[in-house]
Symmetry: D2
Subunit: 303 residues, 4 copies
């Protein structure tokens, strides 16, 4: 590692994998990035905090991973607040606007005080989705050929012209005339200009962010950040937590009472012993929890 | 209604059912109660706020109930923050301690300033559960006969003695000696003494509270309060919201990836057309959402 | 009142003044507005909640106003959370970005789903401040004459051109080609385009917002909203609270230990009895609190 | 240090002083303690986050300490959220009840699952305050002699008897009869029994806690914890922040408009040049801020 952050000695929990990614920007979009700049705790911190709550009661769950998975599966999420992270994020304003709906802690660059750099998000051609005519919420097929070129040209020209207007309004280099105050001049810039912030967040709020923003319904651009955090930072740092996140949050299925009733009815058609829970990686407490939810299922299971 | 709160005129949303329960204590446990003392908004306020977010996009969901159910089913919960309630609650301290883990807004009676009344929670005989020897978390069978009588006698004697000690320490009626400061004298009282607070809470936080505290895993005493709020206050006031709460939160089933995979595998054993979704009250968007979650299910459905 | 909101009957606290402004937009900036759309509680709700906390202890403060002022002066702010308001706000995006740093509850119009209207904030000529060359944080003198005209022309031209690009990208009216998805097309619009949101906020958070955003250091545009809320909505609705806000928050002075020591030293130079506290509206508890803070002051006071 | 926490290597900010107190319980009251068990960041993390917000604008405030003091003096507190701490606290329940009014993150030992240890808070004789007969909120003189002995005997006897009842109700050692469930048996214990929790808190919320709970109006017992944190943990770990805390929060004076007006009037009686700001450690920006608050003060200052 060629950065200049010195190594010190600590008696706090250390995650070697988090240390390896610390201060190393993960590139996202055309000019964006997300960087872990500090952290507190690791996978073990979460079951350790839960053992405080449950006291001697958790002796039987001697395995950290089993306890951590139990907590996340059953939405006992306060122990996740015992782990914290701090990120530096560089991103377009329209993505920052979605991000900051999560009421965590932010210190954002202010264009009242600083002149913004000339960096605008221009989508890669493969992300130039058309507006769906049937569904206002998703993207439709990707624009191609002449239409794509036309859109890209227009976006680039807009950004260039906006920045020229911004510079003109500011008149920072002009000795002969006063510029418009920065806090007003900025307002002619599109929300694809890049901003940056420091984000302080607990593991609980982080998982919630990743759950909502790595989801297929989230806009591609913020999904790119969420995916980068999952793959490059959170999974190395908190591998057990992130496996539980995948199984119990990201890939979990929530059924309404009515939907659950229909699914339970399927069981009646299944021959006894036809299903081997081992095929699904199910055993122990998690299998018993399913049998509790689906009366009659037990008979259908093998062994 | 024989209370003295005058009736005024307002252009705010009015819920007749909420007006009917306003200021009327719902009795809980032996000396406890929960009372709605103010509210803001009704069932319509929630889809109205969502329409602000989704703009013209929600015109197609013309039906308030369908939109409200969609929001809750898909955990789009911020519109629920647009509805607020304020409760007066009288409850034992050990229940208040569980309640206040919900980080809402409280103004609690302080025993630093006031002398507490001589009211202690003594469980009804049918709630005198024994400690399970196999599971530390639930109650086992109910104590009966001589053992129950012994426990009740001991609890009553403890409470009486504690209150006598409290009074003795305070020496409020005693002209001849100084009493111990109230803020210290209170500490000899058991957590079954009653306290009270005012609780200000959004509908979002209220549903979360009711979901966790009306659950079978919650301690009986706080469950009694949650159930009273559901039955006597929230359901009359917000009937559509509370039906969605039942279907999508209280009676919903969350399946891990592994559990969902096993349930999906059941479908392969079901003859085509064997399941009629109408038997489960499923149609439209909610049925399509289930078919999206369970590949191959569509063929098994009738019609 | 010619709007169509029907009047109903309620036993909740009613503020006649709040009823009078309900649903009536207060105009702010060139196309903006702020409208009270619901409220819970009034001035009396705050001391009433405090009396719950302090119990019989507050009997001696029989006067609502005195208790309310005591609470705010001494930063006992939780009773303010017992009063809630809901606003509809229409405002430029750059103002919304400052506003939403206050981590309250919002439902904002989403340009992912809706096409934004052609409304941009263009400052009135008297607010076209130049950038101070000595202080990055405030505005300097107002631009005038040719320079002002040039800036206004540029801002108007930018907005017109941006909206033309937006429309072109969307191609909503064009049968022959696909438009760019709304969630991307929006990003070429400057942050002076108008958005809108519903804002649910407690009186505590509202006072904090007004304190920071009506302050002379806040940017003029958000100050215009804060001032409109104070003058047209909050003061009529909560007159006693807002007088306390002015005296103890807006116009209060916080002195560091060092600054306070210097101010205390002034007293040594003042002849005994030279200062009449009545000239400053000071008496009773608030005067005693000042004497506690400034040793030796008592002798300097008349009477 | 003879504890067994291994030392690792990290590139995160390290505070040597925090490392020295890590995992080392600071004793409070008769059986209580507070222990720093993890931390994130140090004094420099706060101005660094502020520099992100203010961007190039803060180049002029090159000195970390000056910027940190400016932030705290002017209540720009979000950068304080970039620093986090985690504590283990052992304390009587009545103190925990006050502590948890601060809506931070807690994992508390639950007496539903664990049997509590036989540890009760019994005040030291010098803290056995009498109840003031004139002011319900503070303690009066200390009880002495026979009265003190009587109170101590009563408190000790109560605690012993309560724990005997608790043990009797639980019947954990008794093979012949069922015990009452733990979640009910606990309720006969007074709130002077010890509990424990893990507390995760940002530096912003920590300073707010310390400001309110180290204050002379706070109950002695929680003040003992706040003072221990200030002296033994926070000051070594964050020395610059805690000096600013003392000057701008703990020892600051807030004056209402009326109080401020009276204090300003004192200046008229002071001869020109009579006050030397250096005597009060005032210069530069902080002195100018005071002159802005007190018109006419400048003439009274020396030099």
């Amino acid at each position: 590692m060629n950065d200049t952050h010195p190594t010190g000695r600590t008696r706090r929990p250390v995650s070697e994998a988090a240390e390896a990614v610390l201060y190393r920007p993960v590139e996202v979009l055309d000019h964006g990035s997300v960087t872990l700049i500090d952290y507190m705790g690791d996978d073990e911190s979460i079951p350790n905090a839960a053992r405080m709550s449950y006291g001697r009661g958790t002796r039987s769950v001697s395995d950290n991973e089993a306890l951590l998975r139990y907590l996340i599966r059953n939405k006992h999420e306060t122990p996740l607040e015992m782990v914290q992270a701090k990120f530096h994020v560089k991103l377009p304003i329209f993505v920052a606007r979605q991000w900051m709906r999560h009421r965590n802690s932010y210190n954002e660059l202010s264009a009242r005080y600083s002149v913004l750099d000339r960096e605008f998000y221009i989508p890669a051609p493969e992300h130039l989705a058309a507006q769906s005519r049937t569904n206002r919420q998703g993207r439709a097929e990707v624009l191609e050929g002449e239409e794509a070129a036309r859109v890209l040209d227009l976006l680039k020209a807009e950004s260039a012209r906006q920045y020229a207007s911004y510079t003109d309004l500011l008149a920072e280099e002009d000795e002969d005339r006063d510029g418009l105050t920065r806090e007003l001049a900025r307002m002619c810039l599109g929300t694809n200009i890049y901003t940056q912030f420091v984000w302080s967040v607990s593991a609980r709020a982080l998982l919630n962010f990743l759950h909502l923003r790595a989801d297929a319904h989230a806009q591609y651009e913020i999904r790119a950040y969420a995916t980068a955090i999952i793959d490059e930072i959170a999974t190395p740092w908190l591998p057990i937590t992130m496996r539980a996140f995948a199984d119990y949050l990201r890939d979990a299925v929530s059924l309404s009472r009515q939907q659950a009733d229909l699914m339970r009815a399927l069981a009646a058609h299944v021959p006894d012993g036809a299903i081997d829970p081992a095929d699904f990686g199910l055993k122990g407490r998690e299998l018993r929890e399913l049998m509790d939810k689906v009366p009659g299922l037990e008979a259908k299971l093998k062994g």
